[in-house]
């Protein structure tokens, strides 16, 4: 890894190489604006955001004041009951590989990055660790005792090359991944 490249630059480059998009924001307010913009652009009033932490209360308020609903669970667990966009928080990210890491304590938390065709991931800059070794050092205490969270590492949108090796983004999971990066 090129030491002169900061974690953020490396992370961004790797996410993009994996087919995702990174929006770097200078403040949390800007991040909230970016999310609103994405929903507005798609003309959406419902978004899946199960288990979004208290740190993002401002996002919830902002969306609600605008008339959009942040759903904890999909309205119906049927193929047409899934909102177009899911918003999730990434607890960590890995610069080396452009990987987002979600730590989920319950099932709802796992759905927003999985069921909708578009996944918006909220990430704090200081949560980017340099490499995979650092990630597993950080995760070890979480996975060592008591009830353990489910951890999902996400690198780019879902993909398949099962038909004649042709790479297609958007297999069973999202076809679009947007990382909204902001200062803590």
């Amino acid at each position: 890894m090129n030491a002169r490249l900061g974690f953020v630059d490396r992370f961004k480059a790797q996410v993009e190489a994996a087919g995702g998009k990174v929006v770097v924001c200078r403040s949390r307010e800007e991040a909230v604006g970016v999310v609103r913009q994405e929903l507005y652009r798609r003309n959406l009033r419902e978004v899946l955001g199960g288990g979004l932490g208290g740190r993002w209360a401002s996002l919830k308020e902002s969306l609600e004041s605008w008339g959009a609903k942040l759903l904890e669970t999909p309205p119906r667990l049927t193929p047409d009951g899934i909102p177009e966009v899911g918003i999730g928080e990434a607890e960590y990210a890995v610069a080396e590989t452009g990987t987002l890491v979600e730590v989920a304590w319950h099932r709802e938390r796992l759905l927003s990055s999985l069921l909708p065709p578009v996944h918006i991931a909220l990430l704090d800059e200081d949560r980017i660790v340099p490499d995979l070794d650092s990630l597993f050092v950080v995760l070890l205490p979480l996975l060592s005792q008591g009830p353990r969270p489910r951890v999902v590492c996400i690198t780019g949108p879902s993909r398949s090359a099962d038909i004649e090796k042709l790479l297609i983004l958007g297999a069973h999971g999202p076809r679009e991944l947007i990382v909204v990066l902001s200062p803590p």
């Binding site: 796992l110 353990r148 999902v152 690198t155 993909r159 099962d162 038909i163 958007g170 297999a171």
Partner: protein
């Protein structure tokens, strides 16, 4: 075990088979190029391989302690561990669980060991529905075939064939366009995911230290299988265990690059226990692995992390394709693992399906000495089946070949003998014990002089 081959033989190619243009060859070459590019940017690739090899060897050396540790930690996180000695007991455990939970519909993500155990057949025999959800596996399940490659199960099928197959099964007319086919399959399978009462997943690594199951994938189907149904069953071979969480940093750098040339796959799930409201079971399967463990000269094959690199680079695999190997494991790795797992009483000719060019070893991310293992299995096959006269001839050949004098004197004698035989009209039909050689072929007449003799005379 019903569908198992009695003897592992290289299967005949179908009529009209054109190796040069085959999809398998093209896909394998493509994968090899991507792999080379992906590992070129890793400065310490050889160090990583060496480290992985050490971890795998340590694991096999301490497998009982590690499995015990895995069980304790998996249980501590709220999961249940079962042990199965063979395919039958594994399927029984699985079906009992299904029965207890009143399961009717099962979704499954890709798992080589479940192919090996013929889990789908068992589930269907019990009257339940089981759907493969990896796109490639789904396609070949509809076609009623077996995967031809471990990371790209349907690479032998053309887009047109897939369109016909999916159109027939999904009841709508689909164009031969990969994007459209994928969308149609996604919609069809989404419903299956949401309806299923039970999910079955394979496991890439199982971390003893934390009781964590690691699932590596690109499509997201393994995530759906492990998240949506309330009953989740994971199946793993005993060799999938690894001591420490930090080992994953090594394996996750090696596996995606070797398999598909990716820096990282789209998803890596770390499943340590069920989430609230879920029930999680792990079936740890032996099915012949302990026998291989107890066989120190060949146990190295259990280091395999199933990346598929060895088959992508293999010149023989590229020409004959995956189905020719006759069972679930293909390529150089399969040529070694299959006969050992099946403990085929009858001889197996799989280890002979190799040119021993060494490309597989070079590609292997955990540095398994595949050519050595192939040679060892050949030696065993030879010592088992050959007749005394064949063995006598082979050892005479070896004796002659080890010295230049003996070789040239021997060569002279054989050439003279064959010329005499020809004059007696017997080169086309040699007499016993050599008759077997000429049943279906003619022995070409050797030249009067050896190469050395001609070289010496200008």
């Amino acid at each position: 075990m019903s569908g198992l081959p009695q003897t592992l033989r290289i299967q005949q190619p179908p009529p009209g088979f054109d190796p040069g243009a085959s999809k398998v060859a093209k896909a394998a070459r493509h994968a090899t190029l991507q792999r080379s590019a992906a590992i070129a940017e890793v400065a310490n690739w050889e160090d990583l391989r060496a480290r992985a090899k050490v971890i795998r060897a340590y694991t096999l050396e301490h497998i009982d302690v590690l499995l015990q540790q895995l069980e304790v930690n998996f249980r501590g996180a709220g999961g249940v561990v079962h042990y199965a000695s063979d395919a039958r007991s594994a399927c029984t455990i699985l079906l009992d669980l299904a029965r207890q939970h009143g399961v009717r519909r099962v979704v499954k993500s890709k798992s080589m060991v479940s192919e090996e155990l013929e889990v789908n057949e068992a589930i269907q025999r019990a009257g339940l529905e089981v759907v493969e959800t990896d796109l490639g596996e789904f396609i070949i399940q509809l076609a009623g075939e077996r995967p031809s490659h471990i990371t790209a199960p349907a690479i032998h099928k053309s887009t047109e064939e897939i369109a016909t197959l999916l159109s027939r099964h999904l009841g709508e007319s689909l164009p031969p366009d990969p994007q459209a086919l994928l969308l149609a399959a996604r919609a069809y399978l989404r419903k299956r995911f949401l309806d299923a009462e039970m999910g079955i997943i394979g496991v890439n690594f199982a971390v003893a230290e934390t009781g964590t199951l690691v699932v590596v994938e690109n499509e997201g189907n393994a995530r759906l299988v492990s998240t949506l149904p309330r009953l989740l069953v994971a199946i793993m071979g005993i060799e999938k265990v690894t001591p420490a969480l930090l080992d994953l940093a090594t394996f996750l750098r090696l596996l995606p690059r070797s398999a598909t040339g990716q820096v990282m796959t789209s998803y890596v799930s770390l499943i340590s226990g069920p989430y609230p409201g879920q029930e999680l079971h792990l079936i740890v399967v032996d099915n012949g692995r302990r026998r291989i463990l107890g066989d120190p000269t060949v146990r190295e094959i259990l280091h395999c992390i199933r990346c598929g690199a060895c088959m992508n680079v293999c010149p023989v695999y590229r020409i004959i394709g995956g189905h020719a190997y006759g069972w679930v494991y293909t390529g150089p790795m399969g040529a070694i693992l299959s006969p050992l797992l099946l403990n085929a009483e009858t001889t197996s000719d799989l280890p002979f399906a190799s040119t021993l060019c060494g490309a597989c070893r070079e590609a292997c991310p955990v540095d398994i000495d595949l050519p050595r293992l192939l040679l060892e299995l050949r030696r065993r096959a030879a010592s088992k089946v050959s007749t005394p006269s064949e063995r006598w001839m082979m050892s005479t050949w070896a004796f002659a070949g080890k010295s230049r004098e003996r070789f040239s004197v021997g060569g002279k004698l054989v050439r003279r003998f064959l010329r005499v035989a020809r004059n007696l009209g017997s080169v086309q039909r040699l007499f016993p014990p050599l008759a077997g050689w000429t049943i279906s072929r003619d022995l070409p007449l050797p030249p009067a002089q050896s190469f050395r003799e001609r070289w010496r005379k200008p």
